[in-house]
């Protein structure tokens, strides 16, 4: 089981690292675009499309698993903290099961969408030909990361008999 938990951990760290790199790239790309516009009166064609369809999608979805892994999902702790420990554990397990259902559905549907977008070579409305189907794959990858992370947290909570 430790091996499994480690594998999940590294998967989430891996995709989150990719998200970090994408965010820094996005910063440079937009900065460069502004620079080219003001100093050279030119433009980098496709900045809007790259930022919206690739950078944003990748940096948001690829980091989902890491957020769950680090247990940084925003929750309201107030009432649960007043409960006895076993109830807290019960509520946590309940939340994890809901998480598995929700992210499982998101994974399944986004996978179907990514496959169909790939098959028809999906493009965006743009002043030029701009393929967006590859960006669709960030969703199933991100959601499967969350699924695994929820599973790992669930296993951890059960083995420690304590809510995370």
């Amino acid at each position: 089981m430790q091996f499994l938990l480690n594998a999940i951990r590294w998967l989430n760290i891996g995709t989150a690292t990719a998200a970090c790199i994408v965010m820094v790239l996005m910063m440079f790309h937009i900065t460069l675009d502004v620079g080219v516009r003001y100093f050279l009166n030119g433009q980098i064609v496709g900045t809007l499309e790259w930022v919206s369809f690739y950078y944003m999608v990748a940096l948001v979805f690829l980091a989902f698993g890491f957020v769950e892994h680090r247990n940084e999902n925003i929750r309201v702790d107030l009432f649960a903290q007043k409960m006895p420990k076993p109830v807290q554990l019960g509520l946590y397990i309940f939340a994890c099961v809901l998480g598995l259902i929700f992210f499982g559905m998101l994974f399944w549907q986004s996978l179907q969408d990514a496959i169909s977008a790939t098959q028809r070579g999906e493009e965006a409305m743009s002043n030029f030909r701009f393929l967006i189907w590859p960006a669709r794959w960030a969703l199933p990858v991100g959601f499967i990361g969350v699924l695994f992370a929820v599973l790992a947290n669930l296993l951890k909570a059960i083995s420690r008999r304590e809510a995370l």
Binding site: C20, T31, V76
Partner: protein, 435 residues
């Protein structure tokens, strides 16, 4: 059950799930899927899942949010506020409660470089609170000052909350940024005045601060003041003069923060890593709630709940004061329990139709909403800023002590709110100059 009843049941189900510690985005999303499944069928629910996340996340306007988060985290991880804080301290220390006033001022400056309130409170608490405590300040005043001034982070532009509101309510983010500026400064000035008056009346609150800087110390302090004002000049100057769009300002701001950190030789690998990973985590945790909220919007819209809610409120009176009162009560009650981003995204689907129907200026309303949300950050029992400061100080000051210190600031926030409601010009003057 009628669709409207399912909608009402859904609102309660979501609140209950949130109360039993289900993550907010998850609670909103699942309730919406189930609710739509009930009202129509699962095909419609699958359709929503398919059509929503990609199309809304892939947005040029929203991309300003991660950029401003990155900029703010770069500022705090490279210690960009310290010089300014030290300099302000030298000059304001002679005032009654000078250190606390310095802290409010430094928070306001940092707020102009950071998109998030919690990040603002976090950055300043590590620097200013120990300083005040070491100088014999009242523990409640020291921590309350930072918890409350941290909330300037979302009012003074840039602000992730304003970006989310603007994109959602289809109001120009640039206009909202300008609109938030004067209310933010006003809040800070009112805090400062309150601190001065309180310390004048009860000098023991502020301990005994001995500041007799030498000429050398003054020069030393001034040498490191420039980074933050420079950055603010780039970002706010760019937005206010209309040179950049908010997204561009965010990217340029992050880039400038990076360059400034390099020039100051503060950009260690650890600092960069901390800033980037914090920005990614914040962004993703906001967007998980955003996706849940987008589902919730569709679910509620299909159920007819927002319209029914708006009709119920408007049937009492269509006067602006009544609507604002109703909205304020909702926010103050829910704000005790739910953090600001979650609450904003939970309530927008219900409030935006109401505001449109009542013909209230959406820019002005947005600023009032943000101020209300910010109050929620420091009200018990759930006040994110308070927990954050408590954690940052390793429990050196207890939660009840912090909440006690905050009560004065809460009173000032209510005063500010009343002023903002009575004088919309304070909010709308700056945007009217530019557009």
């Amino acid at each position: 059950m009628s669709n409207l009843e399912i909608g009402i049941a859904g609102v309660f189900a979501a609140l209950i799930l949130i109360a039993i510690r289900v993550p907010i985005g998850l609670a909103l999303g699942l309730v919406s899927i189930a609710g739509i499944g009930f009202m129509f069928n699962m095909n419609v629910a699958w359709g929503m899942i398919s059509a929503t996340p990609f199309d809304y996340v892939g947005s040029w306007e929203l991309s300003a949010a991660p950029m401003f988060l990155l900029m703010g985290f770069l500022c705090s991880s490279t210690d960009m506020t310290r010089g300014l804080f030290l300099a302000l301290r030298l000059y304001l220390a002679k005032l009654p409660g000078g250190l606390a006033i310095t802290s409010v001022g430094a928070c306001a400056f940092f707020a102009a470089a950071s998109g998030s309130s919690v990040a603002t409170a976090s950055a300043m608490s590590r620097m200013a609170v120990p300083e005040m405590l070491d100088n014999g300040y009242d523990r409640g005043l020291a921590t309350g000052t930072i918890a409350a001034s941290g909330t300037l982070g979302s009012l003074i532009p840039p602000s992730v909350l304003l970006i989310l509101y603007g994109v959602y309510a289809q109001v120009s983010v640039g206009q909202l940024f300008m609109a938030g500026f004067i209310p933010g400064i006003l809040s800070a000035l009112i805090y400062m005045a309150m601190i001065m008056i309180r310390v004048k009346l009860k000098p023991s609150l502020a301990g005994t601060v001995q500041v007799n800087p030498t000429e050398e110390e003054r020069r030393e302090a001034f040498r490191d003041v420039w980074p933050l004002p420079t950055l603010i000049l780039v970002v706010l100057g760019g937005i206010f003069t209309g040179v950049f769009s908010p997204t561009e300002a965010g990217a340029l701001g992050a880039f400038a923060a990076l360059i400034i950190a390099i020039v100051r030789r503060k950009l260690t690998r650890a600092a960069l890593f901390e800033a980037v990973s914090q920005a990614i985590i914040s962004t993703a945790s906001i967007f998980i709630i955003l996706i849940g909220s987008l589902f919730f919007t569709r679910f509620l819209a299909l159920s007819g709940f927002p319209r029914a809610f708006a009709d119920a409120i408007l049937s009492v009176s269509t006067e602006t004061w009544w609507i604002l009162l109703a909205v304020s009560v909702i926010f103050l009650v829910l704000g005790m329990l739910i953090d600001s981003i979650g609450l904003l995204l939970l309530t927008l689907p219900i409030l935006v139709p109401l505001v449109n129907e009542a013909g209230i200026n959406p820019v002005w309303f947005g600023i009032i909403v943000i101020k209300l949300l910010e109050v929620g950050l420091i009200t018990p029992p759930i006040g994110l800023n308070v927990y954050m400061i408590n954690g940052a100080l390793n429990n050196r000051v207890t939660l009840p002590e912090i909440f006690r210190g905050i009560s004065w600031f809460l009173a000032m926030d209510l005063l500010t709110l009343i002023i903002l409601i009575l004088f919309p010009i304070l909010t709308l003057w700056l945007p009217s100059l530019a557009y």
